[in-house]
């Protein structure tokens, strides 16, 4: 019990530190966004009038504050506190400079699309590669095993964006089976109607396929672990006890072989958003990655900062789930606090 509380508290601390580091980067960068915006507004005012009055300076600061959620003239510590307060209590990340919309809404709208394509691709890839890895281990040395070993080694050598470009060339440009970009068929109304759903599926097919092929390599790692596990003595005992083959395969071999790669799998969930920047760029898929990349190119710092915090929160959640469920997979290491420290 105390372990879980500790672990959750730790996650909150890490999250706050991440936001702090991001804030530091955001605020202390040479020619950071706040200064940039301020000088830009100042020069605009200066064009019309002669010198700035106190009221005008006040007005500029006001404008910068609404855009970035940071009051430029306040001491750094106070800026930090008010930013954190905005983020944590009011989910207020400021306003996007380019889009002129609240950052939270922009991101919240883009989020489901990213989750859709990346998690779907990853879940599909993980499930199938675990299954195939187990089968390969059980048929060790067969031509099925050898063939799939070669295939999954080859898929590991190809980066997902190269897969993306290749499937784009083949299925979209040459065969013209699938759309070349976008996330829905233009002219369809979002909602539960067939043309819209069909369009969404059609547009997601290539991105999902690319991340599926890229995530396929896990099969080999799982195969290796299964093979190693199958040589162990306790399995002979299990067979002597008359346990069914299925129970041995799933509860004994499967579970123990999963342990070493479990963290990697959970981290995979967390890292899907990193790859989405490139994937969404190639497929012109307007979701989180696309928004983040454009924010970078436009130097739209409030939006960029918001995207950073979103990414971090999701990654942390993935790791937390991995740690909290670790004890279920491997009871030996249950509760890091219970371990002796040497």
């Amino acid at each position: 019990m105390s372990y879980y509380v500790k672990r959750i508290a730790q996650t909150i601390v890490v999250f706050l530190s991440t936001v702090t580091v991001t804030f530091g980067m955001y605020r202390l960068m040479p020619f950071g966004p706040v200064e940039q915006m301020k000088s830009q507004l100042q020069s605009e005012y200066q064009k019309s009038g002669q010198s700035l009055s106190r009221a005008q300076i006040e007005q500029i600061n006001q404008q910068v504050e609404t855009l970035t959620n940071i009051q430029p003239d306040a001491p750094l510590f106070q800026q930090y506190l008010s930013y954190m307060e905005g983020v944590l209590l009011h989910a207020d990340f400021g306003t996007s400079i380019v889009l002129q919309e609240p950052v939270f809404e922009v991101l919240f709208e883009a989020m489901p699309w990213s989750v859709f394509i990346s998690v779907y691709g990853l879940a599909l890839g993980t499930t199938i590669s675990l299954l195939l890895g187990a089968i390969m281990a059980y048929k060790e040395g067969s031509s099925f095993d050898t063939g799939l070993t070669v295939v999954s080694t080859l898929t590991q050598t190809v980066p997902y964006y190269i897969v993306a470009i290749l499937v784009l060339i083949v299925f979209a440009f040459q065969l013209e089976w699938l759309p070349t970009g976008g996330k829905m068929t233009p002219g369809t109304a979002p909602g539960l109607n067939w043309p819209f759903i069909a369009g969404v599926v059609e547009h997601a097919a290539l991105p999902v396929l690319s991340s599926f092929v890229a995530g396929f390599g896990g099969a080999l790692a799982y195969r290796g672990n299964c093979v190693r596990e199958m040589g162990k003595g306790y399995l002979r005992l299990a067979r002597l006890r008359g346990l069914s083959q299925g129970r041995i395969a799933i509860r004994y071999v499967g579970r123990n072989a999963l342990l070493p790669i479990y963290t990697t799998l959970m981290l995979g969930v967390a890292s899907v958003f990193g790859s989405s920047i490139i994937l969404e760029q190639i497929f012109n898929y307007r979701a989180m990655g696309f928004v983040t990349f454009n924010a970078l190119l436009d130097r739209d710092y409030p939006l960029l900062m918001g995207a950073f915090i979103f990414f971090s929160a999701i990654t942390l959640l993935g790791i937390l789930v991995a740690d909290l469920t670790y004890g279920i997979i491997d009871p030996r290491v249950e509760g890091g606090a219970n371990r002796e420290s040497y």
Binding site: T22, T157, I165, L168, T264, I278, L316, Y342
Partner: protein
Amino acid sequence: MSRTDSPANDTETDGGSPVEDDLFTRTSRVTDSSRTNRLRHALDAHVYAPLAVAVEDTRTLIGGTIVAGFVLMATVGVVLVEPPQTMEGPIFQQPFRTLEYPLGTGGLGKDLFAQVVHSAPSMLKMILAGALLSTGIGTLIGTVAGYKGGRLDTALMGFTDLVLTIPGLALIVVLAAIYRPEDPVLVGLILGIDNWPRLSRTIRSQVLSIREEAFTEASRIMGLSEATLLRKDVISNLMPYISINFANSARRIIFESVALYFLGILPFTTLNWGVMLNEAYENISLTDPTKLYVILVPMVAIIVLSLGFILASQGLDRVFNVQLRARHARTVASDEPKSEAGD
């Protein structure tokens, strides 16, 4: 050491027949080894045996050859092949037609083969810098955290989580945008920052299992020093894992750097396969099948090199396998006949 190592067994010094060699009558049989002997032994154990294991396996052989070829390309190749120049040849010369432009030329008439070769040095520097940094830090933090446990573990893993949660690619993009790293070594180091937390987390979870094993417990009870224990019991057991991860992080560095150059985020200061990919993607129409080779050339280069690293890493797994190595060593007698070597 086996019995055959000591010839003094046949006759005792008093001329009588030897006492039956059992546990209780046995005395020290370690022969005084001269320096050359020891050197030969060390060479055999650390150079010859690993090489023998490596050469025997086809995967290792291919992987090693690819990586060695790449290193040759980055060192000797750049001297032999002239640097690519704009309009040195015809535009869109198809590949495999002339010996002068073996891989053809792109839209600017630049020799694609020369571009591939002259990209190698910057790729090599990037890979080395990044993979060394991330494997080193990842192993160190993962081992210490997993083994020591307690507060140190919490602190180190907290730090790892912190770095891990800062979105790597986005962070790199921002860093690249501010500092515009031009030196490939610097690019590699920046990419390495993003790579180590994963490794240290996975290493830690491995160490968590190893620390519960009987042999570490035994060493602990024997009172071996912590450094020895970490080195001999923990790290040596993790060695295959670390070597695989070195190759994997080399692959990740290739993938990520190419992605960044492909997106046009890093400045195009050195020739690089990512730069080639970007130029091809921007300049040719993907609907024209006759020009697709321009984009395929850098792709093939990337894929072949990462194949080399993967195969080499699989081979390293076998090289670090103690039993396999012992079977190949000449100075270490083995329980199994040599003819059975290789599986």
